[in-house]
């Protein structure tokens, strides 16, 4: 059925009609088309005693946990381990991350130093473990910045009058026309170097993608029959937005947040490598690789292991994002 343009009757002009077409077509790629994943159904029947419901849910959770595909379990395991490193690095290594024994400089992996030591005799594993908090906090800040600013922009654009929508999305188009790394570099040149600044820069660079996705989702949901039905049964703007539009559009946005988490770790390590992130001797992963690069001919472990950790974390985050979107149950 083709939609028919609609004259406004409700105060906000919030009725189904023509979907505004105001995007440059090539940019549309960044928006995943449909998401059909729902959260675990917590079915609560008022007639059934709570204890038995909980029991049933517990069993359901357990059997669900057993059905989790091995790849996904591994992904959660990787993220869990790295999160634990970030929370309590002291539990995982006895070595210091910043001071080392000069006599033990650049030792290859051994029983004492599982991943070897660097040019100052510092244990590489300890530096990676202590670096986890740098990378994870940075990624969290970046995702938070992008998620909050982007979703807000998209939500306002998708639920407002046409000219507001046009204005916001044109601005997003402009932001998208500059490569993310250059946006980040422009922010860094403005704010200066440092972990937080790099994280903010990465976050700002992702605002446009979040805004597009959030807007697309809001527009999709707002033209569904159930949203019209909610208005038709007397629902007010705010109530419908809160009860129907937000919950149904956020699933996709949250799934992309997981994806963005991986991307942010990559971007932050890149900025760290270029020297715009945390200053030495902070054990940030990108910086570790940059420092190890000076000994590339003699100490392969200094660049290899931090890189592998980054790859593992990013793959894990992507895998989790895919499962949130309801893809690939392997």
């Amino acid at each position: 059925m083709s939609t028919v343009p609609t004259q406004d009757l409700s105060a906000r002009g919030w009725l189904p009609g023509q979907t505004p077409n105001n995007s440059f077509s090539a940019l549309d790629f960044a928006v995943p088309s449909d998401f059909s994943a729902y959260g675990a159904a917590a079915a609560v029947d008022p007639a059934v005693p709570l204890a038995s419901v909980l029991h049933r849910q517990g069993r359901a959770l357990w059997s669900a946990a057993r059905r989790v595909p091995s790849g996904l379990a591994l992904a959660w395991g990787v993220i869990g381990l790295v999160a634990a490193w970030a929370a309590a690095p002291g539990l995982f290594t006895g070595y210091s991350a910043v001071s080392g024994e000069a006599a033990e400089a650049r030792l290859p992996p051994s029983a004492a130093h599982w991943l070897g030591t660097d040019e100052l005799g510092r244990d590489l594993l300890a530096r990676i473990i202590y670096g986890a908090s740098e990378s994870l906090t940075g990624a969290f800040v970046a995702v938070a910045v992008g998620l909050v600013l982007g979703t807000l922009t998209g939500l306002i654009a998708g639920s407002s009058r046409r000219w507001v929508d046009d204005l916001l999305m044109r601005a997003v188009d402009v932001l998208l026309s500059v490569p993310a790394l250059l946006v980040s570099l422009s922010i860094i040149i403005l704010l200066g170097f440092g972990t937080t600044n790099a994280a903010i820069a990465v976050g700002v660079a992702s605002v446009a993608n979040f805004a597009r996705l959030a807007r697309a989702e809001v527009v999709r949901v707002r033209y569904t029959d159930y949203v019209e039905a909610a208005f038709g049964s007397g629902g007010r703007f705010a109530a419908v937005l809160w009860r129907h539009v937000l919950p149904n559009s956020l699933t996709a946005v949250l799934a992309v947040s997981a994806l963005q988490f991986g991307t942010a770790i990559l971007a932050i390590s890149t900025l760290g490598f270029l020297g715009y992130g945390a200053p030495p001797p902070t054990p940030e992963w990108g910086l570790l690789i940059a420092e190890g690069r000076n000994y590339i001919a003699t100490a392969w472990w200094l660049t290899t292991f931090p890189g592998l950790v980054v790859v593992a974390v990013v793959i894990a985050a992507n895998r989790i994002s895919a499962s949130l979107r309801g893809e690939g149950t392997r």
Binding site: V4, P5, T6, Q7, L15, A43, P46, T224, S233, A239
Partner: protein, 556 residues
């Protein structure tokens, strides 16, 4: 040459013999090791040369799977687990694809359901029809082109040379279906598989397309395997029917015998439920003079057409509804009938207050919609409610049934939660659903159950008027019949007034008291159902009535 000899003269060997066919699907990944879910169980039937056999069944009956097996185009996950498919005596069930290729298009061909994607969008109509000839050894380009042009002419497309150059999106649905038929008959095959070939078309177009297919197959003596959910179409077009349910044959035989004296209970129920074979509802003339709940007088609805964001690129306003008038008496059902583009959807959107009329008066329960003030909107919502066509899209997937049905109450006077739940539970029972559904999400319910939920949501505010927008069109006939009888019962008990929008005249005859026939935004005919159906005054109404499948049998 692996093609079996086609010899329609030998009556001993049927053209197609499906014997004890069983088909199943592996899971989505198509892993050969996963167990097969069977969907077709030991199905047998035969088709003789020149014969039309209809496979009839509701969704999930396995009818399309059988058709796909016959032409060797099961989805990757599909497996024939047992049985044979004999074409002129040769079992082709186990043949590799490469061996089937020369057969397809030349001996067996397919007329698919046109969902708008049955033709390649980036190639011209001519190239796609010509492909059939090229695939089967025609090399002379000019001869092929001539064949294609004469085919286009034969299937009734005006200006073949123009159609040859056009792309599928430049043709209407009915024209595209004719192109698909042209491709299927191009090489005069022995068997055409027609898989719901007209389900997506308006009834009058459907009739013309089916007539065309009939003519062509008679000319060439082609046999047809007709896959349909519509008993009416089977009755009109087939020599024999095979009734399927749950992947098993319930009954098969001569079409007259099966449809007049069904031997199996399921066939009997299908027949009883099919609106095409129903008489009109008993007339209730007394009610028609009750006060009108809905009055529409000279309604005009225009839309400005905007293209792009340039401010000066406005065009003439588009007039979707042009002077429609009707009135609906309290406690009766008024039907709005028309094909796509007739303005029936626009009319009800105005009734519901989603659009303001451009001109004319519209009154619902005494509220004038043309001058409706913002503070009167709640009163309108309590007077008139809508049940949507698609029960899958009209329920929020993240809410439970109790939340969905209870939501309208939350929008109005604050009712304490226990009281609200009590009302919801009572209504859920009233629409014939078990209490257990209350805590479930919509996706756990079947289509018919969802439509009951949608009806409950519409009724919880105790509106006087309920608008039913193609509310049963998406449902199988047996479910459709159940919902229609529920609606009837609710109307009797609660004194509801219905505005019933449908393209299906058979359903309309079954449920409505009065009817307006719409075409191009105007009412071409209106009056009591009895009168409109038995003594139609306009040519368009007569066309519509003649196109209802199953009429041939009714007359017989």
């Amino acid at each position: 040459m692996s093609t079996p000899e086609i010899s329609p003269d030998t009556p001993s060997v049927p053209l197609l013999a499906v014997e004890s066919l069983s088909v199943g699907y592996t899971d989505a990944r198509g892993d050969a090791r996963t167990p097969v879910t069977p969907v077709v169980h030991g199905v047998s039937f035969t088709i003789r040369a020149g014969e039309v056999v209809a496979l009839v069944g509701e969704s999930g009956s396995g009818k399309s799977t059988i058709a796909q097996s016959v032409i060797g185009l099961l989805p990757e996950t599909g497996r024939i687990t047992a049985g044979s498919i004999r074409l002129n005596g040769t079992d082709i069930a186990g043949w590799p694809q490469a061996r089937l290729d020369p057969l397809r298009g030349a001996v067996i061909s397919l007329v698919p359901q046109d969902l708008g994607h049955a033709l390649n969008p980036v190639r011209t109509i001519g190239a796609q029809i010509a492909e059939v000839f090229r695939l089967h050894g025609w090399r002379d380009r000019r001869a092929v082109r001539e064949q294609v042009l004469s085919l286009l002419d034969r299937v009734g497309l005006p200006d073949p040379a123009l159609r040859y150059r056009q792309y599928p999106h430049e043709l209407s649905g009915g024209m595209r279906q004719r192109v698909l038929i042209a491709m299927a008959v191009a090489l005069r095959p022995a068997l055409i598989i027609a898989d719901e070939p007209t389900s997506a078309l308006d009834v009058t177009v459907q009739k013309r397309v089916l007539d065309l297919l009939d003519d062509l197959r008679r000319e060439a003596g082609t046999a047809v395997l007709f896959v349909t959910h519509d008993l009416g179409i089977a009755a009109d077009r087939a020599d024999r029917v095979v009734v399927l349910q749950g992947g098993q044959v319930q009954e098969q035989g001569d079409v007259r015998q099966v449809l007049t004296a069904p031997a199996h209970a399921y066939t009997a129920r299908l027949l009883a439920d099919a609106p095409a074979f129903h008489g009109p509802r008993p007339s209730r003339p007394a009610r028609l003079y009750a006060d009108a709940d809905v009055v529409v007088d000279g309604l005009v609805q225009e839309f400005s057409q905007r293209s792009g964001w340039a401010p000066f690129s406005r065009t003439q306003p588009f007039r979707a509804v042009d002077g429609v008038s009707f009135r609906v008496a309290r406690g009766t059902t008024h039907a709005l009938v028309g094909e796509s583009g007739s303005g029936k959807t626009t009319t009800i959107r105005t009734l519901l207050g989603f659009t303001r009329p451009t001109a004319g008066t519209v009154q619902v329960n005494g509220l004038d919609l043309a001058t409706l003030r913002h503070d009167q909107v709640p009163a309108l919502r309590r007077s008139i409610q809508l049940v949507y066509q698609n029960p899958y899209g009209s329920l929020d997937p993240r809410q439970t049934i109790a939340e969905i049905v209870g939501e309208p109450l939350r929008n109005f006077d604050p009712v304490p939660k226990p009281e609200r739940l009590r009302q919801v539970a009572a209504l859920i029972e009233r629409v014939g659903l078990p209490q257990a559904v209350l805590s479930r999400p919509p996706r756990a319910l079947s289509g018919g159950q969802r439509q009951r939920v949608a009806i409950a949501r519409a009724l919880i505010l105790k509106p006087q008027v309920v608008v039913l927008d193609e509310a049963v069109s998406a449902l199988d006939v047996t479910v459709q019949a159940q919902i229609l009888s529920l609606l009837d019962e609710l109307q009797r008990d609660l004194g509801l007034t219905y505005v019933f929008v449908s393209h299906d005249l058979a359903v309309v005859r079954q449920i409505a008291d009065t009817v307006s026939v719409l075409q191009g935004g105007r009412v071409v005919e209106d009056g009591p159902v009895e009168q409109v159906f038995h003594a139609p005054a306009s040519a368009y109404t007569r066309d519509l009535l003649a196109a209802i499948p199953g009429r041939a049998r009714q007359a017989a």
